[in-house]
Every structure is written in C-alpha cells, then in structure tokens.
Amino acid sequence: MPSTDKNLIIRYAEMIIRFRWLVIALSLLSVFAAGYGAQFLHFSNNYRVFFSPENPELRAFEDFQATYTKNDNIMFVIKPKDGSVFTSSTMAAVEKLTDMAWYIPYTLRVDSVTNFQYSYADGDELIVDDLIYEAETLSDEEIAARGEIALNEPLLKNLLVAGDANATGVNVVLQYPEKSITEVPEAAKKAHAIADEIRQEYPDLTIALTGVSMLNNAFADAGQKDAATLMPLMLIILIIAMALTLRSLSATFVTTGVILFSLTVALGLSGYLGIKLTPISVTAPTIILTLAIADSIHILISMFHNMRDGQSKHDAIIDAIRINFMPVTITSLTTMVGFLTLNFSDAPPFWDLGNITAMGITAAWIYSLTFLPALISLMPLKVKVATKAQEQGRMSQLLDRYGQFIVRRHRIILPIITIVSVALICAIPRIELNDQWVKYFDHSLTFRQDADYGLKHLTGVYQVEFSVPAKDAGGINEPEYLTHLDAFADWLRAQDGVRHVYSISDIMRRLNKNMHADDQSWYKLPDTRDLSAQYLLLYEMSLPYGLDLNDRINIDKSATRITASLDDIPTAQVRQFIKDSRQWLSDNAPEYMQSEPTGPTVMFSYISQRNIESMLKGNTIALIAISLILVFALRSLPLGVLSLIPNAVPILITFGLWAIFYKQIGMAAAGVSAVALGIVVDDTVHFMSKYLRARREKDLSPEDATRYAFKTVGTALIVTTIILTLGFMVMAASTFLVNEQLGLMTAATMIIALIIDFTLLPCLLLLGSKSTSAK
C-alpha cells in the first residue's frame, strides 16, 4: 500500500478521535433518521410476491384469472369425530357455515355440499335447488339419500365430500381488491371466528382451515414468528461469542451498538424504500447481525493486541484502524457484491433479502470505522495480558504444527482432497428440485397442521388449472369439444396423484339426463351444439347468486376451465404430470383445444428452476467481480484467479453433500451461492494476504509463508467460521423451509470453506509457488 494512503487513513483515524462526540452524535442521529422508516415495514401476505412480474408462469396465470375469476380461496374442512358427515346435525352445521361464510370480507362465492345446485326433473319442470336445505328439518334417512347423490356426483366427490363420506368441505372463493395489506388477515380472522363459532355449537366437529388465502396469511405468521424468535436468539449467541473472544464488557457493549445500529438502518431504509417483508427477507436481520460483527471484532482484536504491546489507548485505536481499513473494506465489498447478485433471482423476496443485507453490511462498515473508534476511545478498557497470551500461544503452536504438516505432506494431500471434492461435486445431478409450498411451513404453524389435515381427510391446495379453448364463440357446446373435454377429464382422473377433476362436461351429462326425465341412460353428452347451448341456458337461468358458471366458462363461451386437484405429490411428479397432460392433449385433442396448465402449483413447480437459471448468470458475474476485487486487493493476477477455486469449490461440495444426504431442495438452492460466496471469500482474502505479506515483506519461502499464514490468521478464521456457522444455524431454525435450507447449506458451506482453506488452498499456493520460486 502506498504510504500516502496510510497517512490518509491515520489522519482520518485521528480526526475520528478528535471529533468523537460529534461522530457519536451524528451516528445516533443517522440511526434515528433511518430507523424512523421501519414503521413503514409490513409483512406481505401474497404468494405472488415470490414471482417477478416477468415470470412466464405468473403471467399465464394472471391471464387465466382475468378470463375466469381469481382463485384465492379459504377451504373449511369439516370432519365429525366418527362416521359419515351425512347426518342431520353435521349437515346443519355445514349449512350454517356456508351461510356464515358469505360474511367473510371479499367473498365471491361459497360452495358446499349443502348449497350444491342439484338439478333434477319433475314432469315438465327442471328443478335446480340446494342439495340440502334446512337440514334440521330433514330426517337422517333423507339426509343419507342426499349423501348418496353427493357421492355419485363427480363435481362433489373427493372435492367437497371425501370418498368415504367422513369429511366435507366448504370452499370460499375470494377476490381481494389488493389495495390494503390488511385484506388477507381480515378475511382469515373472520374465517377463524366462524370456525370457532361452529366448533362451539358442534363440539363433535373438527374444522381445519386451508386454501390459498390461509397460505398467504401463513407467510406473515411465519415471518413474524421468525422475527420474534430468531433475531433475539442470534443476538444472545453473538453477545456470548463477543464476550468470549473480546473478554471486555466495553468492547462487547460497543460492538452490540454497531450491529444494532446496522440492523436499524437496514430495516429503516427498507421501510422508506417500501420493501415488503416476506418469510425470506425477514431473515436479513439475522444475517446482518452475523456479518456486522466481523468488522468490529477485527478492529477491536487489533486494538487489544496493540494495547498489550504497550501502546496507549488512542494510539492503539488509530493503529487498529490503519491495519484493518483495507481488509474490512474489501471483505465488506465482496460480501455486498455476493448479496446484491440476489437481484438476478426471479423471486423478488430474494432481491429484498440481498438489498436489505447489503444495506446492513454497508452500515456496519461505516459504523465500525466511525462510531466504534469514537465510542471505544471514551470507554474504560482493561487488558488481561498474561492469560490471553498463554492461550494464543497454545493455539498458534497447534496451528504452526499443522502448517508444518501441510508443508510436508501437500503432495499427498492435494490429490486426495481433489479426488474427494470432484467425487462430491459429481453427485450434484442427483439433486431433485421440490417446492411443495405447504411444506415450506413447519409443523409448528397452524396452517401446516390444518393443510395436512385437509390433505389427509379431504383434498389439498395443489391444483392444476387448464383453460381449454373451443373452436369459436359458443364452441364449448360443440359435441366434438365436449367429447374431447370429457375424455381429457377421464384421462386426468386416471393419473396417479390426481384426486379430483372438475369439468363442465359432467354438468352437461347431468342436464341431458334431467331433460329426459332423469333417465340414467341419458347421462351422456347432448348430440348437437344447439341442444347443449339451450340446456346450458336453461341451467344458467336457474343458478342463484354466487353459484354461477362464470368462473368455469369464459364470457363468449369459447373456453372452459378444467381443474385437477392433486394429492400431496413432489413437484417433480407435478412437472411430469404437466408434461404428460400437454402430451395427451396434443395426441388426442383437436389443434384448437391445446391448453397450457397453469395455477400456483404450476408456478411453484418451476420456481426453483427459474431461479437457478436466473442466478447462474448472477453468480458468474459475482465470481468475476469478486475475482477482480481480489486481483486489485492482493495486487496479484495469478493469485486473484487462483482464488476462484477455494471460493467456488466449497459451495459445489455443499450441493454434492446435500444431493447425497437430503436429495430434495427447493428454491433456497438458487440463493445459497450468492449468500455464501461473498462470505467465503473473506477467509481466502485473509489467508492469502497474510501469505503474501510474509512473501513480500518478510521475504519468506512459500513453505514458511504458509506456516506464517496459519499461525497469524488461523485462529481468527476458526473463530469467525464458528460465529458465521452459528448464525446460519440460527437461520436454519426458521419455521420456513426455504430459510431452513438456505441457513443449513450456508452453514455447511462455511465449515467446508474452512476445511478447503486449511487444505486445498495452501496446497495450491505451494504448488503454484514452486514454479515461481524455481525461476
């Protein structure tokens, strides 16, 4: 480093000490000004935030919803303690719940077995009426007879009535104006209140709440729960870690100040920027806490070291700033670059995670170089010289011996570690991408319990939608169209993992039968287009408010909607199902009937792939940018390029290990490398810079320089790795699976990176330096 730079930094450090009161005042002022924005932070409660506006699956689904209706729903799953739901009492409860559900805000329609619009013939009369009306006045026999009808009705069985008749559902479709963040919680709250009221009146019934709206509500629940538990846990762990490493109350106090300030500023600025919190971005504080501590610890450790050497407090602080200014800046920069590449992701919550964390890292960098020296210069400091030196001695002796071992055995270690690494990396293709969004939430959340209950006893939230076009306006009544639609519905029903299929062709069959005095032999599709159209007209004239077919047929009757409800199957199987259904249509249906599957389940089935594709570009750019930073920081082109290996390999090995031990991973996979890369780099930087200093300033041989590097930064690397690993393990304790996987993988990457820095990196340095020293 040129000496003028050094002088500049020294002069800067002196200024900080001289104007420390001003610096402290300005720091506090900036924290309050930025922190004020935190009040604008809100939890998002819409699964759509996981998809960028450009996401093709989202756009297809938005079109679909504009044609039919939105399909945000709340499903009440109702199950008596034992036996059939078709009793007078249970049906009375269902009828009451159906009626009450209309009072849920933003309700568009309510479907249940009681208000199912059952049509039948009576002489020249077509009667369309609620399947069960005033259940209390009906005998159990009468109710059982209606139950028989329900179980024979393809539109009800396995959707609103379980095949074994032991559970039933009330499905509420909602359309939110999407003007206020309180809409979803409002509806969810009302739904819970209704469920409670019914439970109280009918204590024999179990009622579970599932559906897309409850899922959306759970995002906020999960995020809030995480924010309330993980952040405090992290703070406690960090304070203990600081107390152990710094052994000073004052230093711990000041560092706690720095990390809390960084956190406040990051969250406050996010509030001003209108960033919506999601279960993913809400982990940013935990990450900021973990990363913000590093800058302070480096500076404080140097300061204590200087004081132990007999420097005065002020001189020790100034020198600590001088030594650490560049390393702290470089590592902050590389970490920031890593997190900012999350903006390449297709999922906006990852953008937010990256940007909030990047703001936190910047704040930590600033406060570590301003507020920290200013405040610590005012604090009482005691240095216990003897014990500290003893322990450090023991540790560096151990590390020195390890360094000797590496130097002696590097020719054997290098091939072994290379083979192991390559073998592990080769396992990566075994990874299976899985994003079953109910499973994003862990079992401690009510939503997960309820959704599992619903899946077990009635039906799930995984639905694949098709809008099947007809040849022209009114074309859905063409026999050719209806026949193929019917065949498609039958084929779908025959597929593994399909629980229910809703198709308009079943209504047409029933109407045809009704029009022929309910003769079962007429339970088939009408012969001509006009007949179908006129039957449908008749039926539509008879439907009550909220139970029309507008959500099933588009306005000019040129397309209808088929909905397949799936079991709890992995998304790989969903992707196969999507492919198969496309293939079936192309093989069996006319050209004009080709239809693209859509819906949240389809969107989530491709979310990991989309994000990985988009992040590949981001990661490549990050790797190049970070290597350039290292070339500049180390002032060595070959070492900057060489650093790519110890930086990239740990992430690849982590994926390999994951493939072997867990196999399935969700969209977290796309974020791991961006989060881990910038942090992993720090260790490499520290190790390489010490190695280079030994080579350049102390003129040591590569072997001695390697030993020197182990002796000087080995401890620091181990300590920071422990802190980082703990931090990401805390993140892995999240109630949200994406965070759990992201945390676990990043923690694993930290440990593997340490191992790589302790094995592969020195071996490579020794190997590379052989040729240069031979010259």
């Binding site: 079109d63 919803q65 504009a66 044609t67 209706t69 939105k70 209309w102 009072y103 849920i104 805000p105 933003y106 309700t107 568009l108 009576d122 020249d124 009369e125 077509l126 009667i127 369309v128 009426d129 609620d130 359309q175 306006a473 009114g474 009544n477 029009m515 001509t528 287009r529 006009d530 007949l531 179908s532 159209a533 006129q534 039957y535 007209l537 008749l538 539509e540 004239m541 008879s542 439907l543 009550p544 408010y545 909220g546 139970l547 029309d548 077919l549 507008n550 047929i553 588009n554 306005i555 000019d556 009757k557």
Partner: protein
C-alpha cells in the same frame, strides 16, 4: 317532507330541529326515514303507472377483466300489472348467439316468492318450467340478475331515506338517495343504495352490497328518453362488478308502447308459437 322553496333560514331551523328530534327520538327518526324512503320509491313507481305494455330490442355486451367481449341480442316485451301486489309479466326471445336462437323465457314476476318462469327449448320443442328459489343469480352469464333490469317492484324492499345530492351521471338534477333492503328469501344482496332524481323520479344509479357489506356491483342508468310524453326509459344500463372487474352493458333500441298485448300473449302456450 322538506319544502325546497322555503327560505334558507327556515330550512336551517328545520334541519336543526330535525337534528334535535333525531337525537331525542331515534326510533321516530328511523320510522320517518323508512317512510320517506318508501314514498320516494313509490313516487318513482307511480311515474311509470299506465304504460300498459312495451316492446324493445336489446343488446347485451359482456366484458371480462381480460378485456374480451361478447354480444348477445334479444327481444323483450312487458305487460304491466295494475295490481301492485302482483308483478309484471315479461317475455324475452333470444336471437343471438345462433345456437340458442328461438329460445324464449316467460316470467310472471312475484313480489316476495320466486318468480314463475318457463323456458322454451326450440331444439327439443319443449317447455321447461324453471324452479329456483333465488332471484339474484346472473342472467345469461351477465353481471345482471334478472331482477336488476326488469321492473323494480315496490314491495320487494324495505326502504330508508339517506340524503339528497346532485345526481350521479346527470349532475344538473337533484337526487334522493335511498337505501333499500330486499325482503324476499335468499337474496344475494344485503342492501342496495339507489339514486332517484327529484324531477322525473327515475333511477339514476344503484349500488349493490353483499352480505359482508362490500360494494359488489353498481348499475348506471343512462340515455333516458321520454315516450308518449310520459314514460321515461333508459337506453343504456351499465353494470360493473367491482369485485371481478367484469361488466355488462344493456343497450336498448327504441321502445314501442301500447302494442295491445294481452294476458294471452304471456301464457305458457304462446312460447311454442314464437318459434
């Protein structure tokens, strides 16, 4: 009833005493508002008395949130029922789309019970009576319920007078704003708010609220024309569904009044002869 011609001071003192009264006797006030609301609806109803019958061609234009459109044509004839406790009789003949051409719907409106309705199915040459309890279901896949565009029967609702203000759509007119509550069983609407002008006593706008009390639809009555120097008819009715973003326009051609239609033109048997 407020006299608009009285001086402003008198008006103010009336308002003040009205406010005092309302504070002292909310019960009486509620009754007054109900009565006044009913009177306004009645006056509107009476303004249309004696039209005997009318015939009109109408076009229904449906739009969804994606901006797609569909157009349907039909003919509509109505015979007035002089007894206010009985509903009017009406007949709709569908002309397009082609696949339902010739289908016809005959309705005998009732006040509090479900209407009697029959549909003629030309392809089967068959008449089916439609039995349905609910009147507020959508008509023909549109945003209109059948009751939304047929005669507004006076006794189907209870009323509450709210206020007076400039009319929506025609700001030069003053409107009475009246809230009304459906009295028949199983309506999809919890309440409606109607704007009735104080000059011609015609509906200018109606807002529909569902049971969760959110605004679901609004209906604008536009292009009023007078017939026979007496009867006002809108020639464009625009219904917008605020929940789904779908909308339906009903565009009317010229009306013809007093066509000499009799009870016999509105019996079940007539359906087959139309084809």
């Amino acid at each position: 009833m407020l006299n608009l011609k009285s001086s402003t001071t008198l008006f103010k003192s009336l308002v003040v005493s009205g406010l005092l009264l309302s504070a002292l006797a909310p019960q009486a006030h509620a009754q007054d508002a109900a009565e006044k609301g009913y009177e306004i609806a009645k006056r509107s109803d009476e303004s249309d008395r004696g039209f005997k019958d009318h015939k009109v061609k109408m076009q229904m234009i449906l739009r969804n949130a994606a901006g797609q459109e569909d157009v349907r044509d039909m003919r509509f004839s109505v015979k007035e029922e002089p007894n206010p406790d009985l509903g009017d009789k009406s007949l709709i003949i569908f002309d397009t789309p082609k696949d339902i051409s010739g289908s016809a719907l005959l309705s005998h409106a009732k006040i509090l019970e479900p209407d009697d309705q029959w549909l003629f199915i030309p392809e089967d040459e068959m008449i089916k009576r439609i039995s349905s309890r609910n009147k507020s279901g959508p008509f023909f896949g549109s945003e209109f319920a059948y009751e939304d565009f047929t005669a507004q029967e006076l006794n189907k609702y209870k009323y509450k007078y709210l206020r007076q203000e400039a009319c929506p759509n025609v700001p030069e007119l003053t409107c009475d704003v009246v809230e009304r509550y459906p009295q028949y069983e199983r309506s999809g609407y919890a309440r409606q708010i109607g704007w009735v002008d104080t000059t011609d006593f015609q509906n200018r706008k109606i807002e529909f609220y569902n049971r969760a009390d959110s605004l679901i639809k609004s209906l604008d009555f536009l292009d009023y024309k007078q017939y026979e120097g007496k009867f006002w008819r809108p020639h464009l009715m625009k219904m917008v569904n605020h929940q789904t973003g779908k909308s339906t326009d009903l565009v009317y051609g010229p009306y013809s009044f007093d066509n000499g239609l009799t009870e016999n033109d509105f019996v079940k048997g007539v359906l087959e002869t139309l084809y």
